[in-house]
Symmetry: C2
Subunit: 338 residues, 2 copies
């Protein structure tokens, strides 16, 4: 089968690799219907995370179940399924507390930019999408696999409530999906930090009421100006750099919350500053599985359309161009069709 492999910074190839097989009786193998390139894949692609060996890429997928292990009971061959980038049993204490990405038996689902993917702990990981799914819903279902689920978690972690003023830091696919989440959770004012016109436009379409192009202290000052001098109720940090984290913390009002979902790279938080800010902070790899059934329903009902973040669609064979376009910010997010 075909699969993407990252050899070195900016060297992604589509190669022939062995089709995955069932390794545990709780596994399934799915035939990928749609997959994509993640902002977090760019950390490797750009050489910020060291690539020490050829590494299969991708962790987002919608697919048809091809084969199921004999202990899989809830998921059947032929079903259309969506899953998260972490497999989870969905029964351990951490799963029961709603943190499936801290599942005691979690396993990363890698190599999804391929014709087939093995998904461990299938019953706990995958959600069946019922009925005849219209082609137009596929990109949004794929978005639920990571970026929409992650934006949702940012808003949940930041405890967004009806009437809140919310700031989204980061105008990548996750930041844009965080705008959708804030709107769905009832935020009254949604300030998107973005300096790229097409992303500003999409942010508005998703529910942003204000767009701010400024960053750093200037960005903080503008948020304060829009919020009576005190800061936002909730700030969704969707980047992961020291600068974006600082901007997020300083844009939040005392008693407010930061949800941070950009994987931190070199971020150190000063305890004394955090103390006197009165701001709460929760982050982590999004427990997408917790939100998937609800998100899938919102997609099928037409309430949300996160698939719009895919502004480039390519056949899997052209994955290298898909990475490059995102790296150069020519594309927000690239959908790949096997």
């Amino acid at each position: 089968m075909r699969a993407t492999v990252l050899y070195a910074p900016r060297d992604v190839r589509v190669e022939d690799r062995p089709k995955p097989t069932l390794q545990q009786p709780t596994d399934v193998v799915i035939r990928t219907v749609a997959t994509c390139v993640c902002g977090s894949d760019l950390w490797d692609y750009r050489g910020i995370n060291k690539v020490t060996e050829p590494t299969p890429g991708g962790h987002e997928y919608v697919g048809i179940v091809e084969e199921a292990g004999n202990e899989v009971t809830g998921i059947k061959p032929g079903q259309l399924v969506v899953g998260s980038f972490f497999a989870s049993d969905n029964t351990c204490p951490n799963c029961e507390n709603g943190y499936q990405t801290s599942c005691l038996h979690r396993e990363f689902v890698g190599g999804a930019q391929a014709d087939y993917v093995r998904v461990p702990l299938a019953d706990g990981t995958l959600v069946h999408v019922p009925g005849d799914v219209a082609e137009e819903h596929l990109p949004s279902l794929l978005a639920c696999s990571d970026v929409m689920g992650t934006g949702w978690y940012a808003a949940v972690a930041a405890q967004v409530k009806p009437g809140d003023t919310v700031v989204a830091v980061g105008d990548g696919a996750v930041g844009l999906c965080a705008v959708i989440a804030a709107k769905e959770l009832g935020a009254e004012r949604i300030i998107a930090m973005s300096r790229h016109e097409p992303r500003q436009k999409l942010a508005r379409e998703f529910g942003a009421t204000d767009i701010l192009a400024a960053r750093g202290e200037e960005g903080v000052a503008q948020v304060k100006e829009l919020t009576g001098g005190v800061g936002a109720d909730a700030v969704l940090e969707c980047v992961g750099t020291p600068e974006s984290m600082q901007q997020a913390l300083r844009s939040t009002r005392p008693g407010g919350n930061v949800g941070f979902v950009g994987v931190p790279h070199g971020v150190q938080i000063d305890g004394e500053e955090l103390f006197f800010s009165h701001v709460a902070l929760r982050g982590g790899p999004a427990p997408v599985r917790a939100f998937l059934p609800d998100l899938i329903n919102r997609v099928l009902d037409g309430r949300i359309n996160p698939g719009k973040v895919f502004d480039l669609e390519l056949p899997l064979d052209q994955a290298a161009e898909g990475y490059q376009a995102m790296d150069e910010r020519r594309a927000i997010k690239t959908l790949l069709r096997p």
Copy 2:
């Protein structure tokens, strides 16, 4: 009037100083009935915070209103009052959000180890204790001025709920009051980290179900062992060192909360570790004012007795011995009578 003044590390003197006067029409001057030495006073006393000039000590007080400015409407001369260490107007957006210690007009109330104290923004800061107050309640009312309010905030910031497993890190007066708070908020299991027998005893009296003497990684391992391997729902960090913060973060389950009220000294939090922990963190100077009416009622009803943390009572004149006893851990907390 008499007042304590810190001249240099371990050099506290009781001196004659001018009686404070009304400076703003929103001020009152109170005659102190009881005051005390705070664990945070020890940061200065021990020379960890630099003392650059002779500094009046103390910020905890119960007193009788002596004189009120002509814009003070809710508080009357002759009333017994309790207040927080930060004066607050109790009307600004941050106060309305319940964070009076981030009041836009906040002012530190220092020099409370004295015969008289000036309290700014009296209507927003002070709470009148109604009725004839029994002498036995005075220590507990004094505790509400800071340590009980701070322990309460630790539990609120850590979102303690009925049925929770809670850990208190730190067996100073605040850590012990945090045990009271956890119990009042319905925690089922309360693990107090303490290696000092009299404090262990008081922790049990306040509601601790388990005592752990271990610290650091060993302490974390023992908390994990008591919590099915996952960690506690809520951890109350009442110390403020890098070690105590790390212990708190690592003792918390994914999805759990740390409330941190020990003023951080040299604490840096690694963003990546916090991310993958799924733990939320909120701290700050406790908005004691938000909790005072409720805490005072609990004291007068006999539900809580945080005054027990005062295991040494001295006349104000002997304040130096009061500091020294706490520094040497011969006393948990010293009450001073003017």
